[in-house]
């Protein structure tokens, strides 16, 4: 079993807001992230897959194919978008780093041939990142 990690980057806007709370409660819990005009980050995504090395190709997965999957399933949907306003899963969940990692897992699950999705890591900035391993 080999673990292989591919990176991708996207730049997006977001804000944190829970509609069932008062504006004061949103400000208290989310602080400056609750600014409804939004703010943005350069996100770095690391997708780790696990699998056996194919004896003929020497690959776990074809990296070009994995790159194309990340571009099609994630980057083309998230990059230079406002996550709250333009990405469907964040109409009902808050686009925190944790929820972005979970959403990316759900978008990639069963889409990568010959390998098992092992970990989705999302860096919101170099000093803050979330990992999701598919756990309930």
């Amino acid at each position: 079993m080999i673990f292989l990690t591919r990176k991708a980057e996207f730049s997006s806007a977001h804000y944190y807001w829970n509609d069932t709370w008062s504006p004061e409660e949103n400000d208290r819990v989310f602080g400056k992230c609750a600014n409804r005009n939004g703010h943005g980050h350069n996100y770095t995504l690391e997708v780790t897959v696990a699998g056996a090395v194919d004896r003929t190709s020497g690959f776990v997965v074809d990296l070009k194919e994995l790159k194309d999957i990340l571009e099609r399933e994630i980057v083309s949907v998230y990059d230079h978008r406002h996550l709250n306003l333009e990405v469907p899963e964040f109409k009902t969940t808050i686009p925190t780093t944790e929820n972005i990692a979970i959403a990316i897992w759900q978008r990639l699950d069963n889409k990568i041939p010959h390998a098992k999705l092992h970990r989705v890591r999302v860096y919101e900035m170099p000093d803050l990142f979330a990992d999701y391993y598919g756990e309930r």
């Binding site: 944790e98 990992d131 999701y132 391993y133």
Partner: protein, 142 residues
């Protein structure tokens, strides 16, 4: 759903690797330039990994503001711009980054809002240490 959150903090401190259990020659032989009597320093990076269920109301494992405030009080304020050897936690322990990792793990175990998975401490860009709380029998004496 269970997710892991990692946050990195930075502090700068001096230290000296030295133990009374060795004589001067042994200290120099074992610790090399880290045994310089006047000490030396590092820019340390601490990476704390916490896990827990993502709260459906907040989308968070734990509130980052609360974690940062906890780290400011219990990590940064305690270690930044200090000489580690003068701190109580190193009164009877060599201030290696192994022992520092164990101490920082102890500190963050008191953070109440999530489960502490791992403490990763970078002493330089070439040296890093991880502690997950696993106890193993320790060789050596103090």
């Amino acid at each position: 759903m269970k997710a892991h959150l990692s946050r990195r903090y930075h502090f700068s401190a001096s230290h000296r690797l030295h133990t009374e259990a060795y004589d001067s020659a042994q200290n120099r032989a074992v610790f090399g330039k880290c045994n310089n009597p006047h000490g030396h320093g590092h820019n340390y990076t601490v990476q704390v990994t916490l896990s827990g269920q993502v709260d459906p109301e907040t989308g968070m494992v734990c509130n980052l503001g609360d974690l940062d405030a906890f780290a400011q009080t219990n990590l940064i304020a305690r270690f930044d711009y200090t000489n580690l050897n003068t701190l109580d936690c190193f009164a009877n322990k060599v201030s290696t980054t192994e022992n520092l990792s164990i101490e920082i793990h102890r500190i963050f175990q008191a953070f109440p809002d999530a489960h502490l998975e791992r403490v990763h401490v970078e002493e330089t860009s070439n040296n890093s240490f991880d502690f997950t709380g696993e106890a193993t029998p320790a060789p050596g004496t103090l």
